[in-house]
């Protein structure tokens, strides 16, 4: 084990390959402000045996952008291997051979309802969304949670579900805003809990890496039984709420068992939890969250992650970008006015830049037969096309990573279910019977690498 506490002090050489140039820049800034951010704390979570022996595990991550992408600036010219990068996708140029740009996909079930919520919450499931202000939320299990349920279990965390914006406290257009704040659904009715506080995300992992965390299996066993007793006393319509509780207690029991089985050469994580609180600006927090994804993959703490740049209808103020003044959602309603089109496209491009940086970070992680990017499928995109029209057809989607052959712009001949992409991913990872959601098969032209 390297000494992570030292790796960020000025006297020590920089930490190894994982730190891409970009990431180093940010840390240098943080250090300049007198903050020490030792990131590789996550390695404390990884069983040593897994690190030494196993072949690179297959991972999946999905990065969700709210409010769509301006089609004119997104769509690359030409298809197949000969495509030319569009202005919005330009930042992906260094990764050309590792990306497949996917065109003419639709999420059929989200064609109605309203402009944003259904198109957000069903982005990773393709499921119909029940319109409700709270009672009986219903979507469908998302692809990340589906994969995690089938393939997880050998890592300390089932999945990493990250976001930036809190759930707004209201009903909008008849839809609970829970919908707009979640792309990951553990079941059709329960969203996977998101972490939006970098501090809590860091602290959580650090706490669980400490050998001092006392196993309290007897207590958990007791409350688990009491949960079952309560469940039997309740009416059928309330039982699913207690099922949430029972599942959660069970997950914690599993976690503790996994911690006890851990090898003893694990050092406790060593970092300053307050450092996360210093990432105050939106851009800093996005950067930190994407760092978390890369580090979680590097240390094999989890193999499934999602991240939301913003909730549905996000009005995140993007005035920090040159030439942009205003909030994301209002600008996405560009009304074809040139000055708004330009600002909308700049915001879109910024999101693609962050995606490209994540790819760079994964590419910098050396593994047995390549890099972490080689063994990953990283999805990027939005649940609607043109924000001005709330259009759920021809969605902007890019799939990166080495699980599939890249270097292509695959434009489907006719509108094709988005779930075909998930079916391809599910097939490549070997997770259960196909197809996924409303797919009619794997995606034409998307070829798994074997």
């Amino acid at each position: 084990m390297q000494n992570h506490a030292d790796s960020s002090s000025p006297a020590s050489p920089p930490a190894p390959a994982v730190h891409s140039g970009l990431a180093l820049d940010r840390r240098a800034v943080l250090r300049g402000a007198g903050i020490s951010l030792a990131l590789p704390w996550l390695s404390a979570m990884a069983p040593a045996s897994a690190r030494r022996l196993a072949p690179a595990p297959k991972r999946f991550a999905a990065l969700f952008c709210p409010n769509g992408m301006l089609p004119a600036a997104w769509r690359p010219a030409g298809t197949g291997r000969g495509f030319a990068f569009s202005p919005t996708l330009e930042p992906l140029r260094p990764h050309r051979e590792r990306i497949a740009i996917l065109g003419n996909l639709r999420n059929f079930e989200s064609r109605r309802g309203e402009g944003h919520y259904v198109k957000t919450t069903a982005w990773l499931s393709g499921a119909p969304v029940k319109r409700t202000g709270g009672r009986d939320l219903a979507v469908g299990t998302s692809i990340d949670q589906h994969l995690s349920a089938r393939l997880g279990g050998s890592t300390p965390l089932e999945s990493l579900v990250l976001g930036i914006e809190p759930v707004r406290n209201r009903v909008d257009m008849g839809y609970s805003t829970v919908y707009g704040a979640n792309v990951s659904w553990r079941t059709a009715t329960v969203p996977a809990a998101r972490e939006i506080s970098p501090r809590r995300a860091l602290e959580r992992l650090a706490r669980w890496s400490e050998p001092a965390a006392q196993p309290r299996t007897r207590l958990l066993d007791l409350v688990h039984r009491e949960g079952k007793a309560l469940r039997s006393r309740l009416g059928a319509s309330d039982r699913h709420k207690i099922d949430e509780y029972l599942h959660s207690v069970g997950a914690l029991e599993d976690r503790i068992a996994a911690m006890e089985a851990r090898e003893l050469d694990m050092a406790a994580a060593n970092f300053d939890p307050d450092s996360a609180a210093q990432a105050k600006s939106y851009a800093d927090r996005v950067d930190l969250m994407l760092d978390l994804v890369a580090e979680a993959f590097r240390t094999d703490s989890t193999r499934f992650a999602t991240f939301m740049f913003g909730n549905a209808v996000s009005s995140q103020n993007f005035s920090f970008l040159d030439g942009v003044e205003g909030g994301h959602h209002p600008l996405s309603h560009h009304e074809n006015k040139p000055e708004k089109l330009e600002q909308y496209a700049r915001i879109n491009r910024w999101h693609v830049e962050q995606f490209a940086r994540l790819l760079s970070r994964l590419e910098a992680i050396d593994e047995r037969d390549g890099t972490a990017l080689d063994s990953s499928a990283i999805l990027f995109g939005s649940g609607l096309a043109d924000g001005n029209r709330h259009d759920p057809k021809d969605l902007p989607i890019v799939l990166a990573g080495g699980l599939f052959h890249g270097g292509v712009h695959l434009r489907q001949g006719s509108l094709t279910p988005l779930c075909n992409v998930y079916t391809s991913i599910q097939g490549a990872m070997g997770a259960g019977p196909l197809p996924f959601g409303d797919a009619n098969g794997p995606l034409d032209g998307l070829l798994p690498r074997t």
Binding site: E195, N317, G326
Partner: protein
């Protein structure tokens, strides 16, 4: 069974017109009018893509099964959103509208006599804030739950809705850690903790069991089951000198603590599917959660154990006691901030270049103002109508400056004081800086959002969603195509599809244009503020808007009562509940609009005092 006296008293407060018509005639009118005007669109036809539209036919035939739909229909017809003017016969005229509403009320009230579903709210976990307050009562410390637990989502606008209070692996793991923190820092001299510790200091098993049972009753708000006690005694004994601590840990992690209303129902002998009065413990729990945002105190539980709260009178007394106590400030902290939307002040991002004054201290003062205002109403049992307009405001130094107040003495930073308003446009909730801020966009005010807020929060008439491709307004105050924001709104209202809602919303918002995106006064010509309400009243500015709202106080009381109901029960009121709430509204009105009378009425509705027998 459903208590008949409620039905009778609800009918008693119906309007004279309804009584005169007679119930059968009223229902006949309803069916005829619906057939004539509504059925062209609402006979369960399917749209082009196969989705069923609103099926009024089925709903009128079986109102019990379609109560939520009928509740929405009632609100939309009453407000004039439906039927549109291009419906057959030009929609409803005023008389037809009243007849239709009276008929629907009669139909629903009549169906209530049959085994009508009294309503069900999903089983609820405590919210983060309720957990925090309950821990304070139980183990004597303020546990910073926000450090550990993820923020709660909300359903129907409130974080007390069971459907959106999830327990997930992440949140339970966080709770596990939070419990670690709680037992490490709990006060050994907190009465419940001290009692348990004393119990474990004795070697006699019977005494230990007694101590554990008493602690569990406090934590679960119900008598403990024998097996719950025995298991914890065993855990405590095995833990030696840490016995009490481990018992507390095992108790806080249990679903008995995390979830509310989880009392094991004794076989009541009631027929399945019916409703029966809840026991004293359960009522104490519900009332305490509603009015104190915490589990009941030892004292209240002791009385529940002695058989109190079995009668209407004893329940009413408990509610009054809870309202009188200082802990009812939770109504202001939890309920009012969500009702008014000021809880969102931490999430909004007004543009700092345009609104330089919007810094953290001002933001905090805005939130504090909404809490202090509502707390004052409850504390002194003032008129609920002060929410619409009051001659006083709550300010600290930041707000006094923000409101342009002068010559105030002894006003400090961060300490709010009740003072006479200086600007006749201020006063009441509508012109609070916090409310005006959360109903604005980052770069400009939003008359539409503000109008929608008035409809939703003050008039209990939420507007239906805008149709797709409805168009948007520019993001800042710059004019598009030479039109002002106001002119663009007028253009938008020219379309009939948009007019039925925007005619209602926009005037409210336009009257508030004298306040900028963070609720500060700005210079506008009087002409800008002059606007015509949907009923034809011409008003200029906020003061006249408030006068117009005060013309129908029952509508405001209904809005407040409905919101209190949703917060208290975890579900929005249906038409059945609204009929029942008329009683509370009338009582409040007859009591000089005293706010506690309204809150008490909500606390004593059937949804609070009854539960469905298990199926």
């Amino acid at each position: 069974m459903w208590p008949l006296h409620l039905l009778v008293s609800s009918l008693a407060v119906m309007t004279a017109q309804e009584n005169a018509l007679g119930a059968d005639d009223a229902i006949t009118d309803l069916v005829d009018l619906t057939e004539l005007v509504c059925m062209d669109c609402h006979r369960g036809i399917h749209d082009a893509e196969g989705a069923a539209s609103v099926d009024l036919d089925a709903a009128l035939q079986d109102p019990g099964e379609h109560l939520e739909l009928l509740t929405t229909a009632f609100a939309q017809v009453r407000q004039g959103f439906m039927p549109p003017s291009d419906a057959p016969g030009g929609g409803f005229d005023d008389e037809e509208r009243d007849e239709w509403l009276a008929g629907l009320t009669t139909l629903v009230a009549r169906k209530k006599q049959d085994a009508f579903n009294p309503g069900r709210a999903t089983v609820r976990r405590m919210s983060r804030r309720q957990i925090e307050r309950s821990l304070r009562r139980l183990i004597g410390i303020d546990v910073p739950t926000a450090r550990f637990l993820p923020r709660d989502a909300s359903g129907y606008g409130y974080d007390t809705t069971g459907d959106t209070l999830f327990v997930t692996p992440l949140s339970f793991e966080s709770w596990f850690e939070c419990v670690d923190f709680a037992v490490e820092h709990m006060k050994p001299d907190a009465p419940a903790v001290a009692e348990l510790t004393r119990g474990f200091a004795r070697s006699e098993n019977g005494l230990r069991s007694e101590a554990v049972a008493r602690f569990l009753e406090l934590a679960f708000s119900r008598p403990a089951l024998p097996e719950e006690v025995e298991e914890r005694v065993a855990i405590g004994v095995a833990a030696g000198e840490n016995g009490a601590r481990e018992v507390i840990r095992a108790t806080l992690l249990s679903p008995g603590f995390l979830y509310r209303d989880a009392a094991p129902a004794e076989d009541s002998g009631d027929p399945p599917g019916g409703a029966y009065t809840v026991d004293g413990h359960t009522f104490a729990l519900r009332a305490s959660m509603f009015l104190h945002g915490a589990r009941p105190t030892r004292e209240v539980l002791r009385r529940a154990g002695d058989g109190a709260f079995a009668t209407d009178e004893s329940r009413r007394r408990l509610v009054d006691e809870l309202l009188e106590g200082p802990d009812s400030i939770s109504l202001a902290e939890d309920f009012a901030t969500q009702w008014l939307g000021t809880a969102e002040l931490n999430d909004v991002t007004p543009d700092v270049r345009r609104f330089r004054a919007f810094r953290r201290p001002l933001r905090e003062s805005m939130l504090a103002e909404s809490i202090a205002f509502f707390e004052d109403l409850v504390r002194h049992n003032r008129s609920a109508l002060l929410c619409i307009d009051s001659d006083h405001v709550f300010v600290d130094r930041h707000l006094a400056e923000h409101y342009g107040m002068e010559g105030l003495k002894g006003i400090k930073r961060g300490r709010l004081r009740r003072v006479e308003r200086q600007d006749p446009m201020r006063g009441g909730v509508l012109t609070m800086a916090g409310v005006l801020t959360v109903t604005s966009n980052p770069l400009r005010t939003s008359p539409v959002k503000r109008g929608q807020w008035v409809l939703e929060r003050l008039l209990h008439a939420p507007a239906p969603p805008a149709p797709p491709n409805a168009g948007t307004l520019p993001e800042d105050d710059t004019s598009a195509a030479g039109l002002t924001l106001r002119e663009q709104l007028e253009q938008h209202r020219a379309s009939p599809a948009c007019a039925s809602c925007h005619d209602q919303m926009d005037p409210f918002g336009l009257a508030l244009e004298v306040f900028d995106g963070i609720g500060k006064r700005r210079d506008v010509d009087a002409g800008t503020l002059k606007t015509t309400l949907a009923d034809g009243t011409v008003i200029t500015g906020p003061a006249e808007l408030k006068t117009a709202l005060l013309a129908s106080p029952e509508r405001f009381l209904e809005a407040l009562a409905s919101n209190l109901f949703t917060y208290a029960t975890g579900r929005p009121p249906t038409l059945v509940d609204l009929i029942e709430l008329r009683e509370a509204i009338a009582a409040c009105r007859d009591d000089g609009f005293a706010i506690r009378t309204l809150i008490r009425g909500v606390a004593l509705t059937a949804a609070m005092t009854h539960t469905r027998a298990r199926l």
